[in-house]
């Protein structure tokens, strides 16, 4: 009964979404206030019924209802309850439901926080989001119904959740990632609404900017968690593989990075308007494209969903409709008149243009590399692979290119600045950073390393800009020595994100350059030195977990005779599926991780063991965390709060925009 109720809830949600997609938009064309006013109600209605469907599916999972196909395929009676719950989105059908739930959540948030906006704007934005919801609900109902029953042949127990996904990281990674993915639909909807209304101005940018920042922040956090999970769960100690599925989330992030910066210019200066609209369309298009790539099977990936050309075709048609219509609208309606605001080649505007250039090129290059094998195959030019060596070779220089400007841009002036002033402000600290960088290139354990020097140079340079900016803001006359109130959430968020970027750069380079790794044969009593640490295998043992049995090896890690940690890597065999998994043991700290993974037993009580010393690897995720949180912090800025109160704009907006 419960799955059927869920199915009905999903159908109702689909009908409400259809109403949302049509009525407010129609109302905005007819200037029918009553119809436009339906938008928030319908949005909330969609959200409630999707949430209901989600709750019903979750119930089926928690109650081990193996008559439901997805439950039978992805859960098991022995599975711990929390994983029964997260198994809901460990598969195509369920994760699609989560996608729609989050989309409807964003719609509700827009309905709730945009009460101060002109009604036409709200109506159109929600209507556009309603159209997207219609597409995905139809996708779910027509091709991927999560409530399908396995009748009459019902299995006695479920097939189990893939052991790789039985992990806390995977409980929160998909929701966060989807928050970002789907969240990009909000700036997209604002852009489309503004194109329809024909008014792309600073206020449009101000409305859509906080949403963009939050969505982009969540995307950063989602990507971070995915990377972290791969690091500790796959047992290889790698943190980024340039797999098509990773690229699918990284491309919208890169485009989103350009968008976040371009919106800043549009909001403050009213320029780059067409470009910003285009970026908003691109960012969400890339997130739809990612959905297509992950679920259609056109590319081989280690972690794609089961491929199904029929589903692929559905998403492709939907993608073509959404993106094609948006770009057509753009072609017809983008402001034909260049704004009359002027700025010089040395100005904050031009620096942010460089940001936009580099990040757009980076996103395009990742897209090209990801699709290249497909292009070659489509034209029967042979089978090619494009992997990490290519992406690293093109991506790293691009990032190195953009980083120097990150310091200057926040310190620079809008409209017109002078290179002489930048030089004057930055030359002395720059020399300081240069000296530190030169010194640090000798700090690695393996002697002189130019890359570490360069990484310190770039990271130090970015941090320098943040510190300069901070001092400039808080040092003032009156009100004591520091004017803390001059620190707006916008500034704090930006600084946090920039420092986070510096941390990622440093972490990525240092761990790549200074990583030490050895695959060894070890028996009880053996010990090995690595990275200045001593690893001793003390004993072997067995453990029975809730749904697995494990072989364990107990290692003692010491340095200079002092015991630092006891690490217990495992090799697990999951009972339901018989799958074998490496469970690495990690001693984590800010400066280095020690990583032990257990391979196979290789006779005479010995095991193949991988020991790794990974300096500064934490900085990657810490940095990404700072980027994500920084982006989210910016929404607490006073000027965004203020907009919610300008109710008087509603009437003005109705008349002004509809004309």
């Amino acid at each position: 009964m419960i799955p059927e109720l869920g199915h009905v809830a999903l159908i109702i949600a689909f009908m409400l979404a259809s109403g949302l997609a049509v009525l407010p938009m129609w109302g905005s064309a007819r200037r029918d206030v009553a119809m436009m006013n339906l938008a928030p109600t319908l949005a909330v209605g969609v959200m409630l019924f999707v949430a209901l469907a989600f709750a019903f599916l979750a119930t089926s999972f928690l109650q081990d209802d193996f008559t439901v196909a997805v439950v039978a395929a992805n859960s098991n009676s022995l599975l711990p309850p929390i994983f029964k719950f997260s198994a809901l989105w460990g598969n195509h059908e369920g994760s699609l439901l989560l996608w729609v739930l989050i989309l409807s959540g964003w719609m509700t948030a827009v309905a709730f926080f945009s009460r101060g906006l002109p009604l036409v704007m709200v109506a159109r934005v929600l209507s556009v989001m309603g159209m997207i919801a219609v597409g995905f609900l139809a996708f779910s109902l027509l091709t991927s119904n999560p409530f399908e029953r396995l009748l009459p042949t019902t299995p006695l127990d479920g097939n189990d959740l893939n052991p790789l996904l039985q992990d806390p990281g995977l409980i929160i990674h998909p929701p966060l990632l989807y928050m970002g993915y789907v969240g990009l639909s909000v700036p997209f909807a604002f852009a489309i609404a503004a194109l329809i209304g024909g008014r792309l101005d600073a206020s449009w940018a101000r409305w859509s900017r906080p949403w963009t920042n939050v969505a982009w922040g969540f995307l950063s956090l989602g990507i971070m968690l995915g990377s972290w999970w791969a690091y500790y769960e796959l047992g290889w100690g790698g943190w980024w593989f340039w797999d098509p599925v990773e690229n699918a989330s990284f491309m919208p992030w890169l485009m989103g990075t350009a968008l976040v910066h371009s919106l800043a210019v549009t909001e403050k200066r009213g320029v780059f308007r067409s470009w910003t609209v285009l970026l908003a369309i691109f960012a969400f298009s890339l997130s739809l494209l990612g959905t297509f790539l992950v679920r259609s099977g056109v590319l081989t990936s280690v972690h794609a969903f089961a491929s199904d050309p029929e589903r692929g075709l559905f998403i492709l048609i939907f993608l073509a409709l959404v993106v094609g219509a948006s770009l057509l609208l753009y072609a017809l309606r983008a402001p034909a008149v260049a704004s009359r605001v002027s700025y010089g080649p040395v100005s904050r505007e031009s620096l942010l243009m460089i940001n936009n250039l580099v990040f757009t090129v980076a996103a395009t290059v990742v897209l090209l590399g990801t699709l290249f094998p497909l292009v070659m195959d489509a034209f029967s030019l042979g089978k090619y692979s494009v992997g990490p060596p290519y992406f690293n070779a093109v991506f790293v220089p691009l990032m190195a290119l953009v980083t120097p400007f990150m310091t200057v841009a926040p310190l620079s002036r809008w409209r017109e600045d002078s290179a002489a002033r930048w030089l004057h402000e930055l030359v002395v600290p720059a020399i300081g950073v240069g000296v530190i960088a030169a010194a640090s290139s000798f700090m690695g354990q393996q002697g002189f390393n130019i890359w570490i020097g360069l990484a310190v140079l770039l990271a130090g340079w970015v941090s320098l800009g943040v510190v300069k900016d901070f001092l400039r803001r808080v040092k003032g006359k009156g009100q004591g020595p520091f004017r803390w109130r001059a620190l707006s959430p916008s500034f704090i968020g930006m600084s946090l994100a920039h420092l986070g970027f510096a941390a990622v750069v440093l972490g990525a380079v240092v761990v790549t350059q200074e990583n030490q790794e050895r695959d060894l044969r070890m028996a009880v009593g053996d010990s090995e030195e690595l990275g200045g640490y001593r690893f001793e295998l003390k004993r072997l043992g067995q453990l029975a977990g809730p749904n697995y049995v494990a072989e364990q090896a107990v290692f003692e890690v010491s340095r200079a005779g002092e015991l630092l940690a006891v690490l217990v890597p495992e090799k697990r065999r999951y009972l339901a599926s018989g799958q074998v998994m490496t469970e690495a043991a990690i001693d984590a700290s800010l400066w280095r991780d020690l990583y032990i993974a257990l391979g196979e037993p290789i006779g005479e009580g010995a095991w193949a063991v991988r020991l790794q010393y990974k300096p500064l690897v934490r900085w990657l995720w810490l940095g990404a965390l700072m980027i994500g949180l920084g982006a989210i912090v910016t929404v607490f800025d006073r000027r965004y709060r203020a907009q919610a109160q300008t109710r008087s704009m509603i009437e003005h907006g109705v008349v002004g925009l509809a004309s």
């Binding site: 796959l234 074998v580 004309s659």
Partner: protein
């Protein structure tokens, strides 16, 4: 029929990664050879797997290729010789770092071309801006500006 296709579907499902880390204890004549082994095993794609290099894959073919790689390194083969050996047997597909050839030339040059194109566009745009933003409007544009201004004042 439905149940069968469903079972097949389960078999194909999600994350085809094998959760076992590949850990092998090869002996190398020198640290330099070991470093080359790690680099090459990460640049060679396993022909059978979804999207994995031979270093990380548990597939039997990946294991065989690691053995071959180790043998060839120990017997003094150069990187190019090893890559040629692999490509002769499994095609360009095995190279994660595509060789520069007639097909891939634009893959390798695209980043530079795109960036160059962008820089030119940016420079052109800034030159237009420098004139104080008083870019001359065509009569049609002028009319549109006026229409827009009028519209927003309503």
């Amino acid at each position: 029929m439905k149940v069968w296709s469903y079972l097949l579907f389960i078999g194909l499902f999600l994350w085809s990664v094998d959760g076992r880390a590949v850990i092998e204890t090869y002996e190398f004549a020198s640290a330099e050879l070991e470093a080359r082994y790690h680099r090459l095993s990460q640049e060679l794609r396993c022909p059978k797997c979804q999207n994995q290099n031979i270093a990380d894959s548990n597939a039997p073919i990946a294991r065989d290729l690691r053995v071959v790689l180790h043998e060839q390194l120990e017997s003094g083969a150069s990187d190019d010789e090893i890559l040629a050996f692999m490509v002769a047997r499994y095609g360009e597909f095995v190279r994660y770092r595509p060789d520069v050839d007639r097909n891939t030339i634009w893959l390798w040059t695209a980043p530079v071309l795109l960036l160059g194109l962008g820089v030119v566009a940016l420079g052109w745009h800034l030159r237009a801006r420098r004139s104080g933003g008083q870019s001359p409007l065509t009569p049609a544009e002028q009319a549109r500006v006026e229409a827009l201004l009028k519209g927003s004042r309503n």
